[in-house]
Every structure is written in C-alpha cells, then in structure tokens.
Subunit: 598 residues, 2 copies
C-alpha cells in the first residue's frame, strides 16, 4: 500500500493563498473562533489520524471485506477500533451544531478532514460519511423532539445513520419506489419494504443505526410527488432516549444480505428489509424527496471529495515509485550516471501521467474547497443576498464537482496503476485497490449521467442560467486580479466564458424543439464545464504562486504550481474543445438507431 | 455474468464485406482450401466452444483464482477440463504448420478464434495464448532438431509454453537483466536466475511447460546486446521425446509464488526460479532480444485482440441490460406506455455510452482483422514486394492495435459498468470483472507508453515513415472507393492524412534538437493515429453497408453501420484534434519540473 501523508501544505495553500480562509471565517457567523492556530491543529491531528490509524487498515479492509452471518455484519479487523478512537477524539461532531454536542466548525474545515479520511481509507469513511448525511437531514427537517432524540447520539458517534432510497427495481428513478408506510394510532408508521445498496446499513460499529427511509403513504400520488421520508431506527428507543431494553428493542429491521463488490470492500453494502418497522415521519407528507435532497447535496459533495481523495492517494504512490524505480535511460542524456538506470521520472511519458494526476488532484482540490466555502456562506451568512448567491453557485457547482472529480479521479487512479507498470496490477502494491475503490464514486449518489442532467436541466435551463452567471462573475473577478505575466490565461478564460454561456443557450434553444437534445448534450456540457472550472482554479493558483515568487519566496513549491498550471492549459484544457465540438453535433447521431440495432 | 454470444455476423461482415477474405485466401499460398464453408464451420464451432465451455467458468476463475502449494499451481475448477476439450477438438494447432501436426490455417482465421476465446474467458485464454507465442519463436529461430523435439507436443497442446523476460528489477528495460547462462560440456547451458510476472509459468493443465528464457552468457556485452534466448523445459525430456522418467525429470525449474492481482485471476502469474536448470540456446548468441521480438509482435497483436474481445463481452452485457432495465421516461415522450417506465436505452446519455462502446469494438475489430490479413501476406506471400509492404504496414499497425484497442477497450468496459449503474459495481453481474481483466492489457506485452515509443521512434522516425506511407496508401485507395453519399468522410480523411504525415515530420524535426520531444509526443501521436485508423475503418464499413443497401438489402444491420459511422465521425473522431493540439505543445511543459517538485 502506498504510504499516505496528509497534503497539509497543499491544503494550506488553497485555504490561505486562494480562499483567504482566515478573513472568511472572521466574517462568517459562528466561525470567529476558527483561528489559524485552530486550523493548523485540526489539520495536523486529522492528518496524523488518517495516516497512522486509517491507512494501515485500508488494505486489510479490502482483503477481508465485511461478513454477513444471519443478519449480523462484521466489519474488517481494526475498523471498529478505529471508529472508537475517532469517536473518542470527537471527530464525529466536528462540523455539527454545538446544541447537539458538536463543535460547530465550518463545513469547509470538515471538508479537509473528510478528504484525509477518504484518502487513507475510503471504505471506512463511509460509516461516518453516511451518518453525516443523516444528521444533516434530521437537523434540517426534523421536529425539535426528533432533533433532541437522535442528534446528540449521532453527533457523538454512538449511533450511525443511513440513506435508504434504492429498491431493486428503482435506482435513478425513485418515482417507482414501493416501500409502504401505514399510519399507526400513536402517530408513528409501520414501514414495510426492501431497500438495496444501503451503505453502512448494518455493521458492528455503533449501538444503533438510524435509517432515513423513503416510502409511500396510503393513497399518495404516484411518482416522485408521493414519497415521504421516515426515520426508522434499527433498534427501538426507550423513553430514556437510549436503545430499548433487550426484549423491546427489535424493530422489524433486518439485513438480508450484503453485496460482493468491485471495491470499497470494507464498506458494508446491504439489503435492508423493513417488516412493519416503526418509523417516524420527518418533514411534510409527500415531500420526502425534497427533504432527501438536503442530504443528497451534501452527500454529493462528499462523494466528490472521495474522488479527489482517492486520486491524491494514487498520486502520492505513483510519484514515490517514479522517483525510485530505475528503468531505462533518459533519451536526452543520462540523468543518474551512478545508478544502473535513471529513475523513471526522467521519461516524458511518465511525467505526462504524473502531471495529469497532479493537475486534476490539485485543481479539483482548489475547486472543491472553493465550493465548500460557498457552503459556509450559503448556510451561515446573515446577509440574505450573499447567502442566495452562494447557494446558486453551490447548486451549479455541486453536480460538476460530483461528476468531474470522480471521472477525473478515476482517470488519475488508472494513471497511478500505469506508472507502476506490472506492479500496479498486483494487489500488494495497493494502487489497483484505489482504482476499484474510486470506481463507485462515478455511480453512487447519482451517476455521472444524473449529475449531467441535473446541471444542464435544473441548474442551467430551469434556473435560467443564474448559477452559471454567479460562477462566471466569480471567475471574471478573479481574472481581473491576474498579474500581467499570466495575461495569456486571462485571454483564454475570457473567450471561454463567452463560449460557455453560448453553449448553455444553444442547448436551451435546441431543446425547445426536441427534449432529447438536453440529454444528448448533458455529459459533454458537464465535462466542458469541469475543464473550464479547473482552468479557472489553475489560473488562480498560478496567480497566487506568482505573488509568493514576487515576494521573494524561493520555495520551489510555487514554481511547481506555475509549471502545473502551464501543463494544464497546454495539455489538459484542449479536451474542453472536444467536448464542445461533440455536444454541438446534437442528438441526431444518438437517437437515430433503433433499440434492436444496438 | 453477461451471456456471451460469438458475434459471427459482425466477424463475417468484416471478413466478407471489408476484407474480401475468400479471394484473399485463394491468393495466399497454403490457404486455397480455406473455403467459405470451412470458415463458417470454424466460426460456428469456435463460437459454440467459447460460449458453452469457456464463458461459464469465467466468473468461477475470477472468484477462485489459482492456488499455489509448495510450488504446484492449481487452476480454477473447470479450467483443466476445458483445456482438455480444447486440445481434443484440435483448437491448439489451428494456425500452426502441418509439418508439426497443425492445421496450417491462416493467422487471420486464428484471430477470430482468439477473439472468441478471450471474450468468453480471457484468463483461460492466456494458457494457449502464451503457448502460441512460444511456438512462433521456436518455429522462427529453433534448429530443426529443436523444432522436432518441441513443436509437435506444443502444437498438440500436450506441452504449453511461456515467455520469461521480466525480472524484479527490470520490466521495460530488459538491458538490466541478470539471469545467467553457463555453458556446459554437452553444448547445453545451466540457467540460473529468477523471473517474475510469468503468465502460465506453472499450472496443472499440461504435461510439460516449455519456458523461453532470456539470460546472459558469460562475458556477454552489457545492455540489450548481451542477451541470449534459451529453451528451458520444466521437466527434462528423454531420448524418446517424452518427459523423462520420474527420477530424471526435475530440471531445477520451480515456481516460487504466484501473484494476487486486480484481475485475470484464473491466469497464473508466477515467480519462476531457475536453479542450474538445463537450457538450450535458440537463435544466435546475444541476439535473444531479436528472437524474442518475433514472439512479442504476435503476442502484442494477441493482447490487442484481448482488449477488443473483453470490450465485446462488455458491449453485449450492457446492451442487453439497457434494453431490459426500466427506469425513467424518455424526455421526448413516453416510449413504452404499457410499462412502469421506459427501458433505459431511450435515454440519450445511455445511447452515448452504448454507441461509444459499439464504435470502438466494431472499429477495432475491423482494424484488427485488417492487420491480421497483413500478417497472412507478410508471412505467406511469395511475392517479396507484397510481403515487405505488408510487413511494413504490420510493424506500424502493431503498436497502434496493442495500445489503442486496450486503452479504448478499457474505456468500453467502464462504460459497460456505468450503463448498469450500481449493478455494474456488483460482482454477481460480471461487468466489473471485465474492467479488471481488461486493465492488464494496457500493461503487459509492453505498456501503452512502450508501444507509443515503438510507433514514433522505431516505426516512424527510424523507418523514415515507410510503414506510415504504406498505411496511408491503403487508406487513400479505400477512400477512392467511397460512394458519393460518403464524400464528407472522404474529405475529412484526405485532410487528416496530410495532417498525420506532417505531425510525424514535425516531431522528427523537434527531436533533432531535443530527444525528449519524442517521448513527449509519443502517447498523443499513437492515440491520434488510432483515431485516424478507426475513422478509416468506419468509412470503409459505411461504404460496405451502402453497397448492401444499394443492392436492396433491408437488413437494418447495415443501417446500424451507417449510424455508428456517423456517430464515430461526429462524436469520437473530434478527440483526435485534442491529441494533435496536445502533442504540438511540445516537451517543455513536461520536462520543466524538477523531480522533487512533483
């Protein structure tokens, strides 16, 4: 397994030199106490935990997987112990409300923690990750009583949570779901149905599991407008607020089986059966999907960060190998005459792969943390106008981060294998696990295709381009600040921004005649948008590095940023043009073929 | 596991309508008896064997893997029985010389067999595949006595073969290898050293294993010019030609361990230790690498076909799923009003993935079989000029097929997973195995990076563009034959051909100043070349389909070819421009960064 070191210098560069995080926190309600010292302490400690506790059990989790026995699921060796440590150190509650025992720290800081966790052990990170989603949903839509009942235990990590959406016959199309909720006399509901692909649905790490379950009330409208959201605890809860005594605790929730998957083997993926389980309505009747979206947006950014995080782990492994592995000689003259061969990092094609990995990983990090800062503002700002603007940008950027970080993250992990050659394919080296673990991120929390439809359909067309305009405004303001030495990037970006808006318009116009034009353009529009956003971030990083160099810094880290920015603009950004040309070809070349001729 | 059906109609389309295979065989020495009836019988029988014997044990092979116990390797359940059946049916000898018990059928026909085998079970296919490589090497470089001793048993499948190149410290850079060969009094050699990553290095399927081993003679020049090739049987061979009697059979060859890999788990990947093993020099002293190249070129085409084959299996699985899975409604109007939802094949983005899979798989097949036909001519034609031309084209196309079919094959298998969504990630469905099995094809037999250097360095620059010119001549001749209705494709291709030649020249010119320009351009030049070759094949397929339609065929298969060609030109071929623009950016953006700043 490649050794993981938390990229604290990289994170600090983004926080300090791109996002001026200190003044951001000073201006954000409830964040005044987040001083540079506190940030440093959190990054250091989280990094240590990830590297020394989580990473060593990552390969073990892959090798052993989870085990199902008569409804009980055992997680791999070390997973529970690591969770206990995590809980004891208070990490479960870092970003949650102090009222429920959390530390109330901003989402953006939590993002750095979650990056480190996922990079070190993305399977393990699913357990606290799903819990965080459930906490968000209860905090946003639960009654006061529900919040009091569930949140303190969940924030403390004693209870974990899940999202129960998918059924065997419905994944992306939730309108088809069949799980039933029958009202009971005491105001609660009897939930009956079977859910599949439930991450952290059953395991041995917590005292209770709080399922958030989508189900239909009797007589509810068909489709997505007849779905309600319910809280269904694995074990019933007594008046005391603790899990009920043994005789009374069973709640008709059982784990029917777990899946055997390509990767994230340490994460239990469960069939969860609800058999007249007692559930509690959360949020309004038939508005369950809207409530669930609260969880999903956060969950989507979480998945985006997984894509980035796993890519970072791969980048570290590949870079270390390329510096050490001796093989062949540089064509432009021997570089290590004292050795039997040159290290493979001398070869241009190895550098092409490493720089691609670096450009995506660091670029995605910059964009991801920018987006996390928008979450801080959208959720906390008392300036309504500011909050709304941030929310628009956030809505627009979320599907881009989810799909682009995971698609490019998967590309990165595959380059990581390729840099190691044959060794990359051998389990022992750990690089191939990263490919398998990353592969799911393009699927769960809405596939790339679903994100692409969300972006062009909801966030551009339905929203009349408001989110896009917000992001373009950010980019234009940043481009104004570029130093003269980067005027080429500025020129490129200004032309691109005009093109981006036009592309959105042109899809909208075509869609008026043929709704399939939306789907036909969606993937390429999303990827185009991702490449544009990364160009923006690389221009920003180059600008920040230029400032440091102008101030006299001789840290080659900043030269590295300038060099990677150049690589990005010259060797990666051209892909945006392919996506543009491809999407402009329209729906005809996709829709002409009869289904039976495929 | 997705059910596999041999794509016989597709193969016949390529053989008959693109390659006019009947007249090709009539004109090729030794192939006159390959009549359409014989071709049909072979395709049918091979397809049946692949689908009913090999495919059912593919998931078993993945699940069980191979087992090592004190030097002995057991293959998964059913592997040996399938091999016995394969041998009994005479498949092992299909393309080999009748003098050694083969059937003497042309290489191109063997290619169809090997496609089917790899599509149904690529792990299993490694055992006969490696043997074929070893047979080629012995046939090309062995003495008469060596041929008589080894080939009949190998052609019959009683003995299998391997290629022993890699050592722990040397993979791509064979010049560093250390295995020693010490001359013995009887003219044989004592071979000592350890080889890794030896596919089919040890297993339970054959009576003996004939290793072809690269090693150094005493005092040999350092680097690649001091390597010789040896035949080293696992068991010593008695005068009778059979494996020696028990007491005398051990030859100092042992399997130290097997690797645990990302995929192709049914294929044993061995550490093979040679401890004063008796070996026999094959070919001239110190020319071992050249002899090994004979095997490698064939092996590279074989690996190319694996990439294509695994992609075909994925295409079949994804297409079947997309036709059946009901999820969501078409945005342009309900397509299956009698069902709870439309099948997902109505969605443009699902079609984008399926058509991408189809365009690569069918395009690669057309190019692969064209290349196989060049092998027939290069190896068999009595017209020296013809044979040389074919050999040049073959040399140029081999690295393209190897790298492009495997890179795009891997893309295809990933689309295959994505079409199935969450189910794609679950082992039971078999789609993720195809991703893992395909992943190795970009690495073994020379990574994509090695192929790319071979193409631009050896096949374009060192060869002064002769292979490129041969291929361009083929394309121009084909473009002359396009019907008027396809004149857009012709125009595009003619512009592209000029560009292709210029790109090669421009890299050559830059390389005179800086040798790193070769490596910096290599990958993008190879991928560009691959996209151009597929455009050529899609233009040809559209032309062949147009002929059928003009002749009155109402088989929608031909409309499908026209539609896929259009998809390719409008949605895939634009990628070539990105590769062009990227490679034109030169080596500067790759070489500037110091190794420690990565």
């Amino acid at each position: 397994m490649p050794e993981y070191r938390a990229p604290i210098k990289e994170i600090n560069f983004v926080f300090n030199d791109l996002l001026t995080i200190e003044s951001h926190y000073q201006n954000t309600p409830g964040c005044a106490e987040v001083t540079p010292d506190l940030i440093e302490a959190i990054l250091e400690e989280a990094g240590k935990f990830a590297a020394t506790v989580l990473q060593p059990i990552n390969a073990i989790g892959d090798e052993q997987g989870c085990h199902w026995d008569d409804g009980a699921v055992t997680t791999p060796d070390g997973f529970k112990a690591a969770y206990d440590q995590y809980k004891a150190a208070g990490w479960t509650g870092v970003t949650f409300d102090k009222a429920y025992g959390g530390q109330g720290l901003p989402y953006s800081l939590g993002t750095a923690l979650s990056e480190m966790v996922s990079a070190a052990n993305s399977s393990w990170g699913m357990y606290p990750g799903l819990t965080a989603g459930a906490i968000h949903a209860i905090a946003a839509h639960g009654s006061d009583e529900q919040k009091q009942r569930y949140l303190p235990k969940m924030v403390a990590g004693d209870w974990t949570g899940t999202m129960c959406l998918t059924e065997a016959h419905c994944g992306s199309d939730l309108g088809m779901l069949r799980t039933k909720a029958t009202p009971l006399d005491d105001g609660s509901y009897a939930i009956t149905g079977s859910k599949i692909f439930i991450s952290a649905g059953e395991h041995d790490m917590s005292d209770n599991i709080i399922h958030l379950v989508l189900a239909r009330l009797p007589g509810a409208p068909s489709g997505t407008k007849g779905i309600s959201l319910f809280i269904v605890p694995k074990y019933r809860i007594a008046e005391s607020g603790d899990v009920a005594a043994n005789d009374n605790k069973e709640n008709g929730v059982s784990c029917g089986s777990i899946e055997h998957k390509m990767g994230i083997n340490g994460s239990s993926t469960c069939v969860i059966n609800f058999d007249n389980a007692q559930g509690f309505l959360i949020g309004p009747e038939n508005r369950g999907l809207n409530c669930m979206f609260t969880m999903m947006n956060v969950a989507r950014l979480g998945t985006a960060m997984q894509g980035l995080a796993i890519a970072e782990a791969s980048l570290q492994g590949a870079t270390a190998y390329a510096r050490e592995r001796l093989q062949g000689r540089s064509l432009s003259g021997v570089k290590a005459p004292d050795k039997a061969a040159d290290p493979i990092i001398v070869h241009p094609d190895v550098r092409r792969m490493l720089l691609t990995m670096k450009a995506f990983t660091e670029g995605n990090r910059a964009l991801g943390y920018f987006t996390a800062k928008e979450v801080d503002i959208a959720h906390r700002s008392t300036d309504k106008g500011e909050a709304t603007k941030a929310d628009k940008a956030l809505g627009f950027l979320t599907p881009i981060c989810k799909a682009f970080f995971t698609e490019t993250g998967f590309e990165v992990t595959n380059h990581g294998v390729q840099v190691l050659g044959g060794h990359g394919y051998i389990k022992e080296w750990g690089m191939e696990q990263l490919v398998r673990d990353c592969r799911i991120t393009m699927i769960y929390e809405g596939t790339t295709g679903i994100q692409a439809l969300d972006l062009i359909g909801r966030k551009v067309l339905a929203d009349k381009g408001e989110g896009l305009r917000q992001v373009i405004a950010h980019i234009m303001a940043d481009m104004e600040k570029l130093p003269e030495s980067l005027s080429d990037y500025k020129k490129t970006m200004m032309l691109t921004l005009a093109e981006w808006g036009e592309l959105g318009n042109s899809i909208g116009k075509k869609a008026m005649d043929n709704a399939d034009e939306i789907g036909a353009a969606s993937f390429d529009f999303l990827m185009y948008s991702g490449y544009v956003c990364l160009a923006w971030q690389w221009a920003n990083m180059a600008a920040a590095a230029s400032v440091k160099i102008a101030q006299g810094s001789d840290d080659s880290f900043y030269q590295g940023k300038l060099q990677t920015a150049r690589f990005y603009f010259e060797r990666i950004f051209p892909r945006a043009q392919t996506h543009k040309n491809t999407l402009l070809s329209g729906a005809g070349n996709l829709m002409a073929m009869a289904a039976e001729d495929f």
